[in-house]
Amino acid sequence: MTRPTKFEHHLKQDLLATEEATSAPEIFRLAQARNHALAQAHKPRARFLWPAFGASFASALLVVVLFNGQSGSEIGIESKSETIVENSLANESINDEELIYIDDDNIDLYEDLDFYYWLAETDWDGTS
Protein backbone atom coordinates (compact mmCIF):
# COMPACT_ATOMS: atom_id res chain seq x y z
CA MET A 1 0.00 0.00 0.00
CA THR A 2 1.37 3.40 -0.96
CA ARG A 3 1.96 5.94 1.78
CA PRO A 4 -0.97 8.31 2.25
CA THR A 5 -0.34 11.87 1.19
CA LYS A 6 -0.65 14.77 3.63
CA PHE A 7 -4.05 15.59 2.19
CA GLU A 8 -5.28 12.02 2.73
CA HIS A 9 -3.87 12.05 6.25
CA HIS A 10 -5.79 15.24 7.11
CA LEU A 11 -8.97 13.85 5.61
CA LYS A 12 -8.65 10.68 7.65
CA GLN A 13 -8.07 12.65 10.85
CA ASP A 14 -11.23 14.65 10.32
CA LEU A 15 -13.25 11.58 9.42
CA LEU A 16 -12.09 9.87 12.60
CA ALA A 17 -13.07 12.98 14.53
CA THR A 18 -16.57 12.62 13.09
CA GLU A 19 -16.75 9.14 14.59
CA GLU A 20 -15.73 10.48 17.97
CA ALA A 21 -18.53 13.00 17.82
CA THR A 22 -21.24 10.36 17.59
CA SER A 23 -24.05 11.49 19.84
CA ALA A 24 -25.32 9.46 22.79
CA PRO A 25 -28.74 8.68 21.24
CA GLU A 26 -27.01 7.42 18.10
CA ILE A 27 -24.65 5.24 20.14
CA PHE A 28 -27.65 3.87 22.01
CA ARG A 29 -29.53 3.07 18.80
CA LEU A 30 -26.46 1.42 17.30
CA ALA A 31 -26.11 -0.74 20.41
CA GLN A 32 -29.77 -1.68 20.10
CA ALA A 33 -29.29 -2.59 16.44
CA ARG A 34 -26.26 -4.69 17.34
CA ASN A 35 -28.12 -6.52 20.09
CA HIS A 36 -31.06 -7.22 17.78
CA ALA A 37 -28.69 -8.59 15.14
CA LEU A 38 -26.89 -10.78 17.67
CA ALA A 39 -30.11 -11.98 19.27
CA GLN A 40 -31.22 -13.60 16.03
CA ALA A 41 -28.10 -15.77 16.01
CA HIS A 42 -29.17 -17.40 19.30
CA LYS A 43 -32.81 -17.57 18.36
CA PRO A 44 -34.08 -20.86 16.88
CA ARG A 45 -35.65 -20.67 13.47
CA ALA A 46 -39.22 -19.48 13.64
CA ARG A 47 -41.07 -22.77 13.58
CA PHE A 48 -44.32 -21.06 14.38
CA LEU A 49 -44.25 -19.59 10.89
CA TRP A 50 -44.65 -22.99 9.25
CA PRO A 51 -48.40 -23.29 9.96
CA ALA A 52 -48.85 -19.78 8.56
CA PHE A 53 -46.89 -20.70 5.43
CA GLY A 54 -48.90 -23.93 5.15
CA ALA A 55 -52.20 -22.11 5.48
CA SER A 56 -51.16 -19.51 2.90
CA PHE A 57 -50.07 -22.19 0.47
CA ALA A 58 -53.29 -24.16 0.98
CA SER A 59 -55.35 -21.00 0.40
CA ALA A 60 -53.46 -20.21 -2.77
CA LEU A 61 -53.91 -23.79 -3.97
CA LEU A 62 -57.63 -23.65 -3.21
CA VAL A 63 -57.99 -20.40 -5.14
CA VAL A 64 -56.18 -21.92 -8.11
CA VAL A 65 -58.32 -25.08 -8.01
CA LEU A 66 -61.56 -23.11 -7.66
CA PHE A 67 -60.58 -20.74 -10.40
CA ASN A 68 -59.71 -23.59 -12.75
CA GLY A 69 -62.94 -25.43 -11.85
CA GLN A 70 -65.01 -22.33 -12.42
CA SER A 71 -63.38 -21.48 -15.67
CA GLY A 72 -63.73 -25.17 -16.71
CA SER A 73 -67.46 -25.23 -15.93
CA GLU A 74 -67.82 -21.93 -17.73
CA ILE A 75 -66.16 -23.52 -20.70
CA GLY A 76 -68.58 -26.48 -20.39
CA ILE A 77 -71.55 -24.17 -20.28
CA GLU A 78 -70.23 -22.24 -23.20
CA SER A 79 -69.65 -25.41 -25.20
CA LYS A 80 -73.11 -26.70 -24.33
CA SER A 81 -74.75 -23.48 -25.33
CA GLU A 82 -72.68 -23.45 -28.48
CA THR A 83 -73.93 -26.98 -29.30
CA ILE A 84 -77.54 -25.93 -28.70
CA VAL A 85 -77.12 -22.90 -30.91
CA GLU A 86 -75.50 -25.00 -33.58
CA ASN A 87 -78.31 -27.58 -33.35
CA SER A 88 -81.01 -24.96 -33.54
CA LEU A 89 -79.21 -23.37 -36.43
CA ALA A 90 -79.01 -26.77 -38.06
CA ASN A 91 -82.74 -27.28 -37.48
CA GLU A 92 -83.46 -23.90 -38.87
CA SER A 93 -81.38 -24.71 -41.89
CA ILE A 94 -83.23 -28.01 -42.33
CA ASN A 95 -86.62 -26.24 -42.10
CA ASP A 96 -85.44 -23.70 -44.55
CA GLU A 97 -84.32 -26.45 -46.88
CA GLU A 98 -87.68 -28.18 -46.51
CA LEU A 99 -89.48 -24.96 -47.20
CA ILE A 100 -87.35 -24.35 -50.19
CA TYR A 101 -87.95 -27.91 -51.31
CA ILE A 102 -91.72 -27.48 -50.90
CA ASP A 103 -91.68 -24.18 -52.62
CA ASP A 104 -89.81 -25.48 -55.62
CA ASP A 105 -91.29 -28.93 -56.34
CA ASN A 106 -94.81 -29.07 -54.86
CA ILE A 107 -96.11 -25.73 -55.94
CA ASP A 108 -98.47 -27.44 -58.43
CA LEU A 109 -99.88 -29.63 -55.66
CA TYR A 110 -100.90 -26.57 -53.67
CA GLU A 111 -102.39 -24.93 -56.72
CA ASP A 112 -104.53 -28.06 -57.48
CA LEU A 113 -105.46 -28.68 -53.86
CA ASP A 114 -109.10 -27.73 -54.32
CA PHE A 115 -109.42 -30.18 -57.19
CA TYR A 116 -108.04 -33.02 -55.09
CA TYR A 117 -110.42 -32.22 -52.22
CA TRP A 118 -113.39 -32.31 -54.70
CA LEU A 119 -112.10 -35.54 -56.20
CA ALA A 120 -111.84 -37.20 -52.82
CA GLU A 121 -115.34 -36.15 -51.77
CA THR A 122 -116.77 -37.41 -55.09
CA ASP A 123 -115.08 -40.81 -54.69
CA TRP A 124 -116.29 -41.15 -51.10
CA ASP A 125 -119.92 -40.39 -51.87
CA GLY A 126 -119.90 -42.26 -55.14
CA THR A 127 -121.61 -39.31 -56.67
CA SER A 128 -120.35 -36.36 -58.62
Partner: protein
Protein backbone atom coordinates in the same frame (compact mmCIF):
# COMPACT_ATOMS: atom_id res chain seq x y z
CA UNK B 1 -12.06 -10.68 -8.70
CA UNK B 2 -11.99 -14.13 -7.14
CA UNK B 3 -8.35 -13.93 -6.12
CA UNK B 4 -7.73 -14.96 -2.51
CA UNK B 5 -7.86 -11.82 -0.42
CA UNK B 6 -4.81 -11.21 1.71
CA UNK B 7 -6.21 -10.33 5.06
CA UNK B 8 -4.61 -9.17 8.26
CA UNK B 9 -3.51 -11.81 10.72
CA UNK B 10 -5.99 -12.80 13.42
CA UNK B 11 -3.60 -11.69 16.15
CA UNK B 12 -3.66 -8.11 14.80
CA UNK B 13 -7.42 -7.96 15.00
CA UNK B 14 -8.94 -5.75 17.67
CA UNK B 15 -11.86 -8.20 17.77
CA UNK B 16 -12.28 -11.94 18.14
CA UNK B 17 -16.00 -12.47 18.32
CA UNK B 18 -18.72 -11.18 16.04
CA UNK B 19 -20.04 -9.00 18.84
CA UNK B 20 -16.66 -7.32 19.30
CA UNK B 21 -16.43 -6.83 15.57
CA UNK B 22 -19.82 -5.13 15.39
CA UNK B 23 -18.91 -2.89 18.33
CA UNK B 24 -15.68 -2.02 16.59
CA UNK B 25 -17.25 -1.17 13.26
CA UNK B 26 -20.69 0.23 14.03
CA UNK B 27 -19.88 3.92 14.45
CA UNK B 28 -17.77 4.15 11.34
CA UNK B 29 -20.34 2.24 9.33
CA UNK B 30 -23.06 4.53 10.62
CA UNK B 31 -21.16 7.69 9.65
CA UNK B 32 -20.33 6.26 6.25
CA UNK B 33 -23.99 5.42 5.67
CA UNK B 34 -25.08 8.83 6.89
CA UNK B 35 -22.57 10.57 4.68
CA UNK B 36 -23.90 8.52 1.77
CA UNK B 37 -27.59 9.06 2.46
CA UNK B 38 -27.73 12.35 4.35
CA UNK B 39 -30.32 10.89 6.74
CA UNK B 40 -29.68 9.69 10.26
CA UNK B 41 -32.61 7.28 10.46
CA UNK B 42 -31.96 5.80 7.03
CA UNK B 43 -28.30 5.33 7.93
CA UNK B 44 -29.23 3.57 11.18
CA UNK B 45 -31.63 1.28 9.32
CA UNK B 46 -29.00 0.42 6.73
CA UNK B 47 -26.39 -0.35 9.39
CA UNK B 48 -28.86 -2.49 11.33
CA UNK B 49 -29.80 -4.45 8.21
CA UNK B 50 -26.11 -4.96 7.40
CA UNK B 51 -25.35 -6.20 10.91
CA UNK B 52 -28.35 -8.50 10.76
CA UNK B 53 -27.27 -10.01 7.48
CA UNK B 54 -23.66 -10.44 8.56
CA UNK B 55 -24.70 -12.29 11.72
CA UNK B 56 -27.29 -14.34 9.88
CA UNK B 57 -25.13 -15.41 6.96
CA UNK B 58 -21.47 -15.03 7.88
CA UNK B 59 -21.03 -15.35 11.62
CA UNK B 60 -19.41 -18.75 11.04
CA UNK B 61 -16.66 -17.16 8.91
CA UNK B 62 -13.26 -16.27 10.36
CA UNK B 63 -12.67 -12.86 11.95
CA UNK B 64 -10.44 -11.49 9.15
CA UNK B 65 -13.20 -12.13 6.63
CA UNK B 66 -15.85 -10.14 8.47
CA UNK B 67 -14.69 -6.64 7.56
CA UNK B 68 -14.73 -7.00 3.75
CA UNK B 69 -17.97 -8.97 3.99
CA UNK B 70 -19.59 -6.36 6.18
CA UNK B 71 -18.60 -3.54 3.86
CA UNK B 72 -19.82 -5.52 0.88
CA UNK B 73 -23.22 -5.87 2.54
CA UNK B 74 -23.24 -2.21 3.58
CA UNK B 75 -22.38 -1.08 0.06
CA UNK B 76 -25.05 -3.23 -1.52
CA UNK B 77 -27.60 -1.85 0.96
CA UNK B 78 -26.52 1.68 0.08
CA UNK B 79 -26.76 0.89 -3.63
CA UNK B 80 -30.29 -0.47 -3.08
CA UNK B 81 -31.14 2.75 -1.28
CA UNK B 82 -29.86 4.89 -4.18
CA UNK B 83 -31.85 2.81 -6.67
CA UNK B 84 -35.05 3.11 -4.67
CA UNK B 85 -34.42 6.81 -4.20
CA UNK B 86 -33.84 7.30 -7.95
CA UNK B 87 -37.13 5.53 -8.74
CA UNK B 88 -38.97 7.52 -6.07
CA UNK B 89 -37.53 10.79 -7.37
CA UNK B 90 -38.65 9.89 -10.90
CA UNK B 91 -42.15 9.00 -9.78
CA UNK B 92 -42.61 11.94 -7.46
CA UNK B 93 -40.71 14.69 -9.19
CA UNK B 94 -42.47 17.44 -7.28
CA UNK B 95 -41.32 16.04 -3.93
CA UNK B 96 -37.82 15.11 -4.97
CA UNK B 97 -35.98 14.45 -1.74
CA UNK B 98 -32.82 16.38 -1.25
CA UNK B 99 -30.86 15.61 1.87
CA UNK B 100 -29.94 19.21 2.54
CA UNK B 101 -33.54 20.40 2.67
CA UNK B 102 -35.19 17.36 4.16
CA UNK B 103 -34.20 18.63 7.53
CA UNK B 104 -32.68 15.39 8.69
CA UNK B 105 -29.19 16.14 7.63
CA UNK B 106 -27.31 15.38 10.80
CA UNK B 107 -30.25 16.75 12.70
CA UNK B 108 -28.83 16.13 16.12
CA UNK B 109 -27.10 19.33 17.28
CA UNK B 110 -24.60 17.32 19.28
CA UNK B 111 -23.17 16.16 15.98
CA UNK B 112 -21.98 19.66 15.33
CA UNK B 113 -20.05 19.67 18.57
CA UNK B 114 -17.12 18.04 16.86
CA UNK B 115 -13.75 18.16 18.47
CA UNK B 116 -11.58 16.86 21.19
CA UNK B 117 -11.37 18.05 24.71
CA UNK B 118 -7.82 19.25 24.17
CA UNK B 119 -8.86 21.61 21.39
CA UNK B 120 -9.58 25.26 21.90
CA UNK B 121 -13.05 26.52 20.94
CA UNK B 122 -11.59 28.13 17.82
CA UNK B 123 -9.98 24.88 16.73
CA UNK B 124 -13.17 22.99 17.43
CA UNK B 125 -15.19 25.41 15.37
CA UNK B 126 -12.75 25.24 12.46
CA UNK B 127 -12.75 21.46 12.58
CA UNK B 128 -16.54 21.48 12.57
CA UNK B 129 -16.60 23.71 9.50
CA UNK B 130 -14.03 21.57 7.73
CA UNK B 131 -15.99 18.40 8.42
CA UNK B 132 -19.17 20.01 7.17
CA UNK B 133 -17.43 20.93 3.93
CA UNK B 134 -15.93 17.47 3.70
CA UNK B 135 -19.37 15.90 4.16
CA UNK B 136 -20.84 18.05 1.42
CA UNK B 137 -17.98 17.25 -0.93
CA UNK B 138 -18.09 13.50 -0.28
CA UNK B 139 -21.85 13.47 -0.87
CA UNK B 140 -21.30 15.00 -4.29
CA UNK B 141 -19.02 12.16 -5.38
CA UNK B 142 -20.46 9.42 -7.60
CA UNK B 143 -21.44 6.31 -5.65
CA UNK B 144 -18.49 4.14 -6.64
CA UNK B 145 -15.94 6.88 -6.03
CA UNK B 146 -17.46 7.60 -2.64
CA UNK B 147 -17.32 3.93 -1.69
CA UNK B 148 -13.69 3.62 -2.80
CA UNK B 149 -12.78 6.79 -0.90
CA UNK B 150 -14.47 5.66 2.30
CA UNK B 151 -13.03 2.18 2.29
CA UNK B 152 -9.51 3.17 1.29
CA UNK B 153 -9.02 6.48 3.05
CA UNK B 154 -11.36 6.17 6.03
CA UNK B 155 -11.39 2.46 6.79
CA UNK B 156 -7.84 1.98 5.57
CA UNK B 157 -8.56 -1.18 3.58
CA UNK B 158 -5.97 -2.29 1.05
CA UNK B 159 -6.76 -2.20 -2.66
CA UNK B 160 -7.39 -5.97 -2.62
CA UNK B 161 -9.74 -5.76 0.36
CA UNK B 162 -11.56 -2.80 -1.16
CA UNK B 163 -11.94 -4.70 -4.44
CA UNK B 164 -13.41 -7.64 -2.52
CA UNK B 165 -15.79 -5.37 -0.61
CA UNK B 166 -16.92 -3.52 -3.73
CA UNK B 167 -17.00 -6.60 -5.95
CA UNK B 168 -14.88 -4.91 -8.62
CA UNK B 169 -11.34 -5.35 -9.89
CA UNK B 170 -8.31 -3.82 -8.20
CA UNK B 171 -7.73 -1.65 -11.25
CA UNK B 172 -11.22 -0.22 -10.96
CA UNK B 173 -10.65 0.49 -7.26
CA UNK B 174 -7.49 2.44 -8.11
CA UNK B 175 -9.32 4.39 -10.80
CA UNK B 176 -12.31 5.24 -8.59
CA UNK B 177 -10.11 6.20 -5.66
CA UNK B 178 -7.81 8.32 -7.75
CA UNK B 179 -10.75 10.16 -9.32
CA UNK B 180 -12.36 10.65 -5.91
CA UNK B 181 -9.18 12.15 -4.47
CA UNK B 182 -8.73 14.36 -7.49
CA UNK B 183 -12.28 15.69 -7.20
CA UNK B 184 -11.97 16.20 -3.46
CA UNK B 185 -8.69 18.08 -3.91
CA UNK B 186 -10.43 20.41 -6.34
CA UNK B 187 -13.45 20.89 -4.13
CA UNK B 188 -11.49 21.33 -0.93
CA UNK B 189 -8.74 23.46 -2.41
CA UNK B 190 -8.01 25.48 0.71
CA UNK B 191 -8.62 22.52 3.01
CA UNK B 192 -6.38 22.46 6.02
CA UNK B 193 -4.74 25.76 5.15
CA UNK B 194 -6.34 27.27 8.21
Amino acid sequence: MDKPVTLAAVSDMPYRTIEEFLKFIERRAFHMARMGTGHTDTALDIVQDSMYKLVEKYSAKTAPEWKPLFYRILNSKLTDYYRRKAVRDKLFVWSKSRPDIDGDKFADPTDKAIGRHSETPDEMMMRGQRIERLNDSVQQLPNRQRQAFMLRCWEGLSTIETAAAMKISEGSVKTHYSRAMHTLRDMLEDYRHD
